[in-house]
């Protein structure tokens, strides 16, 4: 496959795939670095599935291209957008399957992880407590220094 000698159809397919990939990874950048990224999109329906944002950004581009194909009236535009849409599908659907596979592997791997051992510390007292004994201090009264007055 010589990338310099691609047919117009192949170019459109590749362009659709790259557009879809950029949409997906553009969302990933926002997901990672945007503090106000919506939590609903970060959630997962199931631990084996990728986050909702991944599913949306992978399914939306081919669907959008398909919708444009249906809406447009010019047959030339329809043909071109259909090629872009198919190129987008060539990236998005295999990628979605890949993400599901990877998340499943992570989840199953985490299940297979041996449980961390927390041994109860059998600590023996190192320090002995002692109550200081009360001692008597004999105080000799000072005489003549102070005089008791009525």
């Amino acid at each position: 496959m010589n990338f310099l000698k691609l047919s117009p159809v192949e170019k459109r397919l590749l362009l659709g795939g790259i557009a879809s990939s950029l949409i997906y990874y553009g969302d990933r950048v926002a997901y990672e670095y945007m503090p106000t990224y919506p939590a609903e999109l970060k959630n997962q329906l199931d631990p084996h599935l990728p986050p909702n944002a991944d599913i949306i950004t992978l399914v939306a581009p081919p669907v959008a291209f398909y919708a444009v194909t249906k809406v447009s009236k010019s047959s030339t535009t329809q043909e071109k957008v259909a090629d872009l849409g198919f190129g987008s599908a060539l990236y998005s659907f295999p990628r979605l399957v890949q993400r599901i596979g990877v998340y499943t592997a992570w989840t199953e791997g985490a299940k297979a992880r041996p449980a961390a051992r927390f041994t109860a510390p059998m600590a023996q007292a190192r320090y002995t407590t002692s109550i200081p004994q009360a001692t008597r201090v004999a105080v000799t009264p000072t005489v003549g220094k102070y005089r008791l007055t009525a």
């Binding site: 496959m1 950029l22 990236y91 659907f93």
Partner: protein, 117 residues
């Protein structure tokens, strides 16, 4: 629904994604189960801004192999599958490079700045 060419393209893209999920799934499973794989073949990272070797194998080497096989055996279906795989692979490598470069540009310390006025 699909003509034979489109079927072959889709089959090639799914086969490439299959190799990708095989390598990345193995990495994910092993790391999640508590073992370290980073730096071991094929999970070698040349530079933080460039996809690791396993992605290059799945997204570039595998379609190239299909293409060479198709040309060698003179099977047009294999060549079409290679093209489908290449569309998936090239898109994935470009997207991932953009994502990794963005990660390099974005300073870690500035990720969660709360501005209070």
């Amino acid at each position: 629904m699909f003509d034979p060419t489109e079927k072959n393209l889709l089959l090639g893209a799914f086969a490439t994604a299959g190799v990708d999920v095989g390598l990345e799934g193995y990495y994910g499973y092993t790391v999640a189960s508590g073992k370290e794989l980073k730096g071991q073949f094929p999970f070698i990272e040349f530079h933080p801004a460039i996809p690791p070797l396993d992605d290059w194998i799945a997204c570039a080497v595998f379609p190239a192999l299909l293409y060479t096989l198709g040309k060698g055996m003179k099977k047009n279906s294999l060549v079409q599958m290679a093209k489908g795989g290449a569309i998936y692979g090239v898109s994935e490598l470009i997207g991932q490079t953009v994502y990794r470069v963005a990660g390099q540009i974005q300073p870690t310390a500035a990720r969660y700045i709360v501005v209070r006025r």
